[in-house]
């Protein structure tokens, strides 16, 4: 396609360029705005008195003396110990990605090589399961988890997130494995390997693009989850998103919105770095066929 790029007529190029500029602004502006606002005080962030206050920082100056303040970050990280939540989040995400990929790689491979009808129905069932609103699932977990003393632990949440994650990972990886020629592993089996050996020696070396892409999606799901983590983790094991929600206050008490804003910015930073680092892999994993229907 790049060879053709040069041949685009000027009119079309301007159109595409204009469209891209608009899209980039749409995509990035809320992030920049929040980043900017996180160094202000609440009155300026909401700027209900006058929207321009968010830019000039009227109240930030009267309340803190400077045009920018790190109070939100200090409050969130030091006073409210947001670092604990950050640590928990990384433990949860790491375990979810690891376990989820192990399970779904094995199952996805088997599903891609099976021609039986039950393999198909398994995939469909997984898909329909995915449609279940997570809140219903979570409210069903509460009683048994409390009864068996499973509630509140990080490990329980990890397993639940792995399970909720399975349908999507299965679907991605099955189609990815379908695009790896069957001849590869089957010729290994003709040579006397078992199915598992064939998987280990032939498939594992070539599966990484698809697995990394699927892993990134699993990571995002675990990282951004609210429904499960908010309800299943006790306070000391709380992850970032429920912690941010707890900064927002309740009906009868005022929260620390600026702590929340600072925490939002902080919690977005790691995924920024990750996406920057892995974007090539996302594209190449998808290109390699992880999404071919």
């Amino acid at each position: 396609m790049s060879a053709l790029t040069k041949k685009h007529p000027t009119g079309l190029r301007v159109l595409l360029l204009g469209f891209l500029v608009v899209w980039v602004i749409l995509a990035a502006f809320p992030f920049l705005w929040t980043l900017w606002g996180s160094f202000k005080v609440e009155g300026d962030f909401f700027s209900k008195a006058n929207w321009a206050n968010a830019l000039t920082g009227e109240l930030t100056r009267t309340e803190t003396g400077g045009s920018f303040t790190g109070d939100g970050y200090h409050g969130a990280w030091v006073q409210e110990e947001f670092w604990r939540a950050a640590l928990n989040t990384f433990v949860v995400c790491f375990c979810v990605v690891l376990i989820s990929l192990t399970c779904s790689t094995l199952a996805g491979y088997a599903l891609s090589r099976s021609t039986y009808n039950y393999a198909f129905w398994l995939l469909i069932a997984a898909l329909i399961f995915r449609a279940m609103p997570p809140i219903t699932l979570v409210s069903g977990y509460l009683l048994p988890f409390f009864e068996w003393n499973l509630w509140g632990h990080i490990s329980t949440t990890v397993i639940v997130l792995v399970a909720i994650n399975q349908p999507f990972s299965l679907w991605m990886l099955t189609s990815f494995f379908r695009n790896i020629p069957k001849d590869l592993d089957e010729s290994a089996m003709v040579d006397g390997c078992t199915r598992f050996q064939a998987f280990r020696h032939v498939i594992i070396p070539v599966m990484w693009p698809g697995v990394i892409t699927t892993g990134l999606f699993s990571f995002l799901l675990a990282y951004n989850d609210f429904a499960v983590t908010a309800m299943l983790l006790e306070k000391e094991n709380q992850t970032m998103v429920p912690k941010i929600a707890s900064f927002l206050g309740t009906t009868q008490t005022k929260g620390n919105v600026m702590f929340a804003v600072a925490a939002v910015v902080s919690s977005t930073a790691p995924i920024f770095v990750m996406v920057m680092f892995f974007q090539r892999q996302i594209v190449s994993g998808l290109t390699a066929g992880a999404v071919k229907g």
Binding site: T5, L20, A27, P30, L137, Q166, E186, V283
Partner: protein, 344 residues
Amino acid sequence: MVCAVKHGTFFSFVFPSLLAMTLFIALPVASVVVQSFHAQHDQVIIEVENCGPFGCETTTKIDQEATEALRQDQPLGKFVGLENYTNRGHLATSEIGEAWRTSESMGDFLGELMNLPFYRAIAFTLTFTAIVTPLTIMLGFAIAVAVNASARMLRGPLIFVSLLPFIINPLVGSLVLFWMIDARGILGHALQFLADDPELSVKASTPLMWIMLMVYGIWHAAPFAFVVFYAGLQTVNQDTLEAAMIDGATRWQRVRYVTIPHLMPLVTFVALIQLMDNFRVFEPLVSFSAAAHANSLSYYIYTDLGGETRLLNSAAATSVLTIIGVAILLAPVLVRTWRDHKRA
């Protein structure tokens, strides 16, 4: 034949995944289905006097002993068949029958229908799904084409920026947008300026709130469609394209007859995921405090479970109806997958 995986091997491969899904998805789904056919036992209510820091008053409480035995006997509650599905909170069969008989015009009937919470929720959910899904795909495709046509060194940063709306937490992302769209926030103010109406407020008007929710839905999901299509564009067969060019195909014809057919399986994939996610739309409604203007099936379940007295059976019935709804929506895609499977 070596091609097929043996049954035993197959199950040892899928076992961990299957176990996790059975325990944490299939069993809860089964229990939800069972619950949806039950209601609580009849409670015996007695008058009592309550006292506290603000004095005493006569009120009521549940006589626990009276229903204790019944509850021990049937912990799920009493079996009510389809009653949870047909009551006013769900399909409202008798209310609809009544409305059909009494309403004078179709508009009248529809008004009555939209006054029922379940139909209100389903109306928004379906509208949201029907509008957001295709627009997400189109926007994602347009971004993919535009990025693909840009200079090579720009693509990395462009992909990064384009992915941002997707990686942000939906709850947080929509909250930030909600703050910005306030009549005195930066976006709200910009809209007032553009519309030349200083009184314009997105949060005060139902149509604008719906549009806002959908705009957010598209903004959030378009990057996913974009990255999938972008990946697909990398594998378009160059020879076919060049052959088409030599044959004198116009730019549009090349897109129409080479690129789009190549991306079709990806469109199916994105549509599948998007249909499902949009049908479950929930977080934006919470962050936008949209309850006065819009209600979705997931939000309806959330309301049932979030009150001081939780309506488990009602939430279960709504959940089952949601799953059925998704299954119907996905049916065409599933049929296609079934054909592919048979062919393979």
